[in-house]
């Protein structure tokens, strides 16, 4: 026990003396939340659009008023002819142009149908897609209103309800992702680096000739990062609840429990990497390439895994972050209980045991 406390004290000295790293470790989650929360959002607000209204009747003006009223669009210019469309896009600021044909009001009144053309700048496909969706929704709204006024006999009206995330906030998606990413980075990379550093410095050898059990050395290394990670989870959750207004719908103890499980998996992975490498650079490189990229790409956080080709979907199953991401989404956003995440928890536990056994085995081979 005495040995153990000496060790842990030493590890904390290492961490606190290295101010820059400490700042990165504790500041990173905050910065990521801020970046993802305010800069990297899929929502498009106040997109600049132009209008070519050839009809200029009551109906078209009413429709355009709806656009003007929405917070998604700013009508910047009124065009007067088709020839202006191309140059208007080329000037670069417009995202979309609404074209209303001259017969719009007339046709709507007498034929009960009319056409509106939406031309979007698809050089950024995501924005173009989002904007045309918003625009369609506004047009639908408008249509719904005028049909009500006229009382047509047969209409089907689709009503949407966005379950779990009524405002369609991007934050609901990336808060769990940032949690997985930060934990992996802090636990896996930092543990791997700090253990390999002892090897590089020759201090590991001193540990091994001392009566300290190797397992103690390793556990003592992991403890400070476990503590730091818990601090990080708490700061991410506080930021997401109070700044991004993403609620925690499920049980907080359950969320913390599964997070600690994921931390342990990450620590075990870091251990495995440290047992397999001899220099800090290699350890860092492996952590980044083999873990960080798959976490971002294959956990479902940036790109939906369901749409990936079969081989990638298979590979994604061995990425621990994928399971953790699913768990956090289920517990935090959907408010589900333990019974609905048993499979994922079992998989993570299996991974933990596997990584630990591998790491211990590797470690022993090196000592022989």
């Amino acid at each position: 026990m005495r040995q153990f406390t000496s060790f842990i004290k030493k590890e904390f000295y290492h961490i606190f003396r290295d101010r820059r790293t400490l700042f990165i470790l504790l500041g990173m989650p905050v910065i990521q939340i801020v970046i993802f929360g305010f800069a990297l959002t899929n929502e498009v607000k106040n997109a600049k659009i132009a209008v070519l209204d050839q009809s200029k009747d009551v109906a078209s003006i009413a429709l355009l008023d709806e656009f003007n009223a929405s917070r998604y669009f700013d009508i910047e210019r009124n065009l007067t002819s088709y020839n202006e469309i191309e140059p208007a896009f080329k000037a670069g600021k417009l995202k979309m142009i609404i074209v209303i044909p001259s017969s719009f009001g007339e046709e709507l009144k007498h034929l009960n149908k009319a056409q509106v053309q939406l031309i979007a700048d698809a050089s950024d496909p995501n924005v173009a897609n989002t904007l045309t969706n918003y625009a369609s929704a506004i047009i639908m709204d408008y249509q719904a209103r005028i049909t009500q006024e006229r009382k047509l006999p047969y209409t089907i009206k689709a009503e949407f309800r966005m379950l779990y995330n009524p405002q369609m906030k991007g934050a609901y998606n990336f808060v769990p992702g940032v949690m997985a990413m930060v934990l992996l980075l802090v636990c896996t990379m930092m543990t791997a680096i700090t253990i390999v550093k002892e090897k590089e410095m020759g201090t590991m050898e001193i540990m091994l000739v001392s009566p300290v059990r190797p397992i103690l050395v390793v556990v003592a290394k992991a403890v400070p990062y476990l503590v730091l990670s818990i601090v990080n989870i708490i700061s991410i959750l506080l930021l997401s609840v109070y700044v991004l207004e993403v609620p925690i719908n499920g049980s907080i103890p359950l969320l913390m429990g599964v997070s600690i499980l994921f931390i342990l998996v990450s620590l075990a992975l870091g251990l495995l990497i440290s047992a397999a490498t001899d220099t800090q650079q290699t350890a860092m490189f492996i952590s980044l390439i083999a873990l960080f990229l798959p976490t971002v790409m294959l956990s479902g956080f940036m790109f939906p895994v369901e749409n990936m080709p079969f081989p990638l979907r298979t590979v994604s199953n061995i990425v621990p972050a994928k399971w953790y991401y699913f768990i956090v989404k289920s517990v935090m956003i959907k408010g589900l209980g333990f019974s609905s995440i048993i499979k994922e928890v079992a998989i993570l536990t299996g991974m933990l045991v596997f990584f630990l056994l591998m790491a211990v085995k590797k470690f022993k081979i090196r000592l022989a």
Partner: protein
Amino acid sequence: MTKGTVIQAEGLTKQFGDFIAVDHISFEVKKGEIFGFLGANGAGKTTAMRMLCGLSMPTSGKATVAGFDVYKENEAIKRSIGYMSQKFSLYEDLTVKENMRFYGGIYGKSDAFIKQKTAFILEHLKLEKEANLLVKSLPLGWKQKLAFSVAVFHEPEIVFLDEPTGGVDPVTRREFWSMIYEAADQGTTVFVTTHYMDEAEYCNRVSIMVDGRIEALDTTIALKKKYEADSMDEVFLKLARGAKRGE
């Protein structure tokens, strides 16, 4: 085992695949002795030392360290020895005091012991003023002396030094050796590998390893006489010339 023998090796061998790193070496080291373990790079010194420290399992042969068997009583050996490696081994981002407290702690020493021993060493090395400085701010020579003090901090029976004076200037090397003498005077057995032949002269007895085997083992005076040499350097060259293994 004769009385006062602290290290005894008999036919100790380590094989990595086809390569015999250490080939049936046998020797004894007595209590309080400074035993020089010489050899060119790749002769097998470090491997032999690692077996004695319990870092590596021998392939065959027998050995006891401080009366404990290297195969079975690994843990007991670890408690009886100190070790200083050729790589510098203090924590640079810890202060002088913190390093000592840490090493004392991993050997399970009490706070009182650590406090008293730290004060003693600091006074002895005249480092009282630097006690709370980070180790990285000290000159190399001091770090080396400090590393030795830390290796014998828990008062081990035997201390293993693996090329302890690499990269240190001659004055510091001399001071370093006077520390080794002090330790030996207090009854600590010193097992030291080196390839500085002038350092070999400081040892009570030396063994010279060539290609995994011990080719010579005696006091320096006896060796010089036997090989008709003026210095250990000459003795070493005569023996090492036959070496087949390169760097």
